[in-house]
């Protein structure tokens, strides 16, 4: 066991920021709050960067460059750091505070701390005039703390700590404007829906302990390597984990909290509900991929849920009018892509898409935030329009983001989406269906993103009384960096990503000599994206009246989509209402008033009755007390007397009279 704990600094820096700003933030000057809030994620990011360099550089350079002598093992991943004291030790089960840095967690950490830092910088401008400035940054830092714990955790339980923690941070930030009822409700909804997923995660952990006797990921992998682990309990564990992942990553059927989560400030939507936290489910599936690899059925369910969610959420996004809700449904849809990638065992492709998605979706959200900020808090697409003249930089970066998410080469989304679709296509007949769903989703994605683009930025302005203005540099800087990443982020190529990630998530399946097939699939995907753009162009640029006509021509379909398939209403009627009625009628009247109240009344009555009897003893008469005292002493004396004298006599009389 090594006791070098520099990995621990990565989460602890944001935690320190959380403590300082959370406790003292209200009394500190604003510049100090800003400094503390920015140094924490920047420090973590630099640490991660340093680890990355250390992982790639030859040993001599590290020894020469690093502060002090370094262990040679640093270049070897996975790099495990275990706290010198035990966390839980119960029988054969030992759980330590251990952090693991391998290819998977390294990539994830780069995204979390890198994009996280950019969004912190953006928030400095965005939240400038907010009363809860320090509170906001302390929550953001708290989020980064838990997220890095989640990513670095070497066992499922420590991951669960981070998992719950990011849920808490998400709850706090969605309900940041807690005076607003809708925001407070949205926070609760997110938390409660996530609890359903957490239930699955917990059950999976219990099953892991029962069957493998450990929660450490590497030990589970070692034990799974023995023959005989196929299907059965592994499938059950996989499905339970999937339930957890579906809750956190907003997949069917637990996606309903994410659109409502847009009640939080826009940087929060970008950081937590687009780039990092919601990808924790994908990360978890990739982290436990050995389990899924041993259960084709669970893997198939992952892929199916991913494809269904991608398609389902994309159709809802077609008709949403709130700019942030369009992006929220688009996030759900893109997360579905990542699940699809995981489900066809193309974990590195899924992680690749996770990374590029973090770039362009954070960009799109931040740009949407800049738009909302500049026109006085308006989020309705129908009241925007013509903003490209007023907000040229925001327009340019949004264009980059839209092209990236729609999957046009050479933007980032093209490469990662293509890698997932290609991997799906290679998976037999079922894979073709998944691939087709993915391509249709790509078409829809392209359509709704260009719809947003046309409605918000092009055409004539549909609002007269606002004067849009470009945002401050603290907001434009991160936008430009993220735009650059959205353009270039995919150039690294899936081959390099796959090779790099192979040691931790397994190699990508490839079809030898299938370059032509791959190119053909690329052409199909790009054609689908172009078609989506063309339709959006026709509907929203050439014939702006047509969308309304379509809505009146097909009122049923439009209503179905505009009301998000009535899923919220369905859950309300099928789950929430029965639960409420159960608590109201059964729990309140029978359990609360009947059983609990009755029991309290009964116990109180007995005590009261006993009291009325016994109080006669407490007469206050000293001589009665004395008599009881003497009687008690006599009884104590009499008992041994009876025992030693009277009982033997009785016994002898008995024998004398009746014989033995």
């Amino acid at each position: 066991m090594n006791v070098s704990l520099h990995l621990w600094l990565i989460p602890l820096l944001p935690f320190a920021g959380f403590l300082i700003n959370g406790i003292l933030g209200r009394r500190l000057p604003k510049w100090l709050v800003t400094t503390v809030a920015l140094i924490a994620p920047l420090g973590s990011f630099l640490l991660v960067l340093w680890n990355t360099l250390a992982a790639f550089a030859p040993i001599e350079i590290i020894a020469w460059n690093g502060p002090g002598p370094l262990p040679r093992e640093l270049t070897r991943m996975p790099w495990v750091e275990t706290c010198p004291f035990t966390w839980i030790s119960a029988g054969a089960l030992h759980i330590d505070f251990s952090f693991v840095l391998d290819q998977l967690s390294l990539v994830m950490l780069l995204v979390v701390t890198g994009v996280g830092f950019l969004i912190h910088v953006y928030s400095v401008g965005y939240m400038k005039d907010d009363e809860g400035y320090a509170r906001f940054f302390s929550y953001l830092n708290l989020f980064l703390f838990f997220m890095t714990v989640l990513v670095l955790a070497g066992n499922a339980l420590l991951m669960f700590v981070g998992w719950e923690g990011v849920g808490l941070a998400s709850y706090l930030l969605i309900g940041f404007y807690f005076q607003k009822k809708s925001a407070a409700d949205a926070g609760k909804k997110a938390f409660i829906v996530n609890r359903i997923g957490d239930f699955g995660f917990l059950i999976a952990m219990f099953l892991l302990v029962a069957n493998f006797g450990t929660l450490t990921f590497s030990e589970i992998a070692t034990k799974l390597a023995y023959p005989g682990w196929q299907g059965g309990v592994v499938t059950v564990i996989g499905l339970c984990l999937l339930l957890g992942a579906a809750g956190k990553s907003a997949q069917l059927p637990l996606y309903i909290w994410l659109p409502d989560a847009m009640e939080g400030p826009t940087p929060v939507s970008a950081l937590i509900h687009a780039a990092t936290m919601v990808t924790a489910g994908i990360y978890m599936v990739a982290r436990t991929h050995v389990l899924f690899d041993h259960s084709p059925f669970a893997l198939g369910v992952v892929a199916t849920i991913g494809a269904l969610t991608a398609l389902f959420a994309a159709t809802i996004a077609l008709v949403q009018n709130d700019i942030k809700r369009v992006l929220a449904y688009s996030t759900i849809s893109q997360l579905g892509y990542m699940f699809l990638g995981c489900g066809v065992a193309a974990y590195s492709a899924a992680i690749f898409h996770l990374v590029t998605h973090a770039f362009f979706k954070a960009l799109l959200f931040l740009a949407a935030g800049a738009v909302i900020h500049s026109i006085g808090g308006e989020q309705d697409l129908r009241k925007m329009g013509g903003l490209w003249k007023k907000l040229p930089i925001t327009f340019a970066v949004t264009t980059a983001g839209v092209l990236a998410i729609a999957g046009f080469p050479p933007f980032a989304g093209f490469f990662s989406k293509d890698a997932i679709l290609y991997s799906a296509f290679l998976q037999g007949a079922g894979g073709k269906i998944l691939w087709f769903a993915g391509v249709v989703t790509a078409l829809l994605t392209s359509f709704y993103m260009f719809r947003l683009w046309y409605l918000a930025f092009l055409g004539e302005s549909r609002s007269k009384d606002v004067h849009p203005h470009e945002s401050p540099w603290t907001m434009r800087g991160p936008l430009l960096i993220l735009a650059a990443l959205s353009v270039c982020g995919g150039w690294i190529g899936i081959e390099n990503v796959g090779n790099f990630m192979a040691p931790s998530v397994g190699a990508l399946a490839t079809d030898a000599g299938s370059a032509s097939l791959e190119h053909m699939l690329m052409v199909v995907a790009v054609a689908a994206a172009l078609l989506g753009w063309y339709i959006a162009d026709r509907l929203y640029r050439q014939k702006p009246a047509q969308p309304a006509e379509l809505a009146t021509t097909y009122p049923e379909s439009y209503k179905l989509l505009a009301n998000k398939y009535f899923v919220d209403e369905f859950y309300g009627a099928a789950v929430v209402k029965p639960l409420l009625n159960l608590s109201k009628y059964f729990l309140e009247w029978v359990v609360e008033i009947g059983i609990l109240g009755g029991a309290a009344w009964l116990i109180g009555g007995i005590a009261n009755f006993a009291g009325t009897i016994l109080q006669r003893w407490q007469s206050g008469n000293l001589r009665s007390y004395a008599a009881w005292l003497a009687a008690g002493a006599a009884a104590v004396l009499l008992f041994p007397l009876l025992q030693s004298v009277m009982f033997p006599i009785i016994h002898h009389m008995y024998i004398y009279r009746w014989g033995h």
């Binding site: 407490q618 007469s619 206050g620 008469n621 000293l622 001589r623 004395a626 008599a627 003497a630």
Partner: protein, 107 residues
């Protein structure tokens, strides 16, 4: 001197005297109405027990019994100090020492 006593007077007599003293104490404790007499009865019981202690100590040539008597006397002295103080306080408050009439739980 002590061996003379032990030889001359059997242990049983001491125990008998001790029991008589103790019983007198118990009876006084239960039937007397004056608080001070009740208090004196307690002292009588204690000293009855003390007599058994010294008698047994003499009989078995064991010093522990005598030591114990000192403890009892010490406790009795402390008790007398506290008890008499309480009795004076009671008399001041109630103007009587008849135990049957001091039966109210509060002032």
């Amino acid at each position: 001197m002590s061996s003379f006593l032990a030889q001359e007077v059997p242990l049983a007599w001491y125990l008998l005297l001790s029991a008589v003293l103790f019983s007198l104490g118990v009876v006084g404790f239960l039937i007397k109405r004056n608080l001070i007499t009740v208090f004196m009865s307690i002292e009588l019981m204690l000293n009855g027990v003390n007599l058994s202690f010294v008698a047994f100590a003499q009989q078995w040539h064991e010093v522990k019994g005598q030591i114990f008597v000192f403890f009892v006397m010490m406790v009795a002295a402390a008790e007398a100090a506290v008890g008499l103080a309480i009795i004076i306080a009671v008399f001041r408050a109630r103007a009587t020492l008849a135990v049957d009439r001091i039966d109210r739980m509060k002032l």
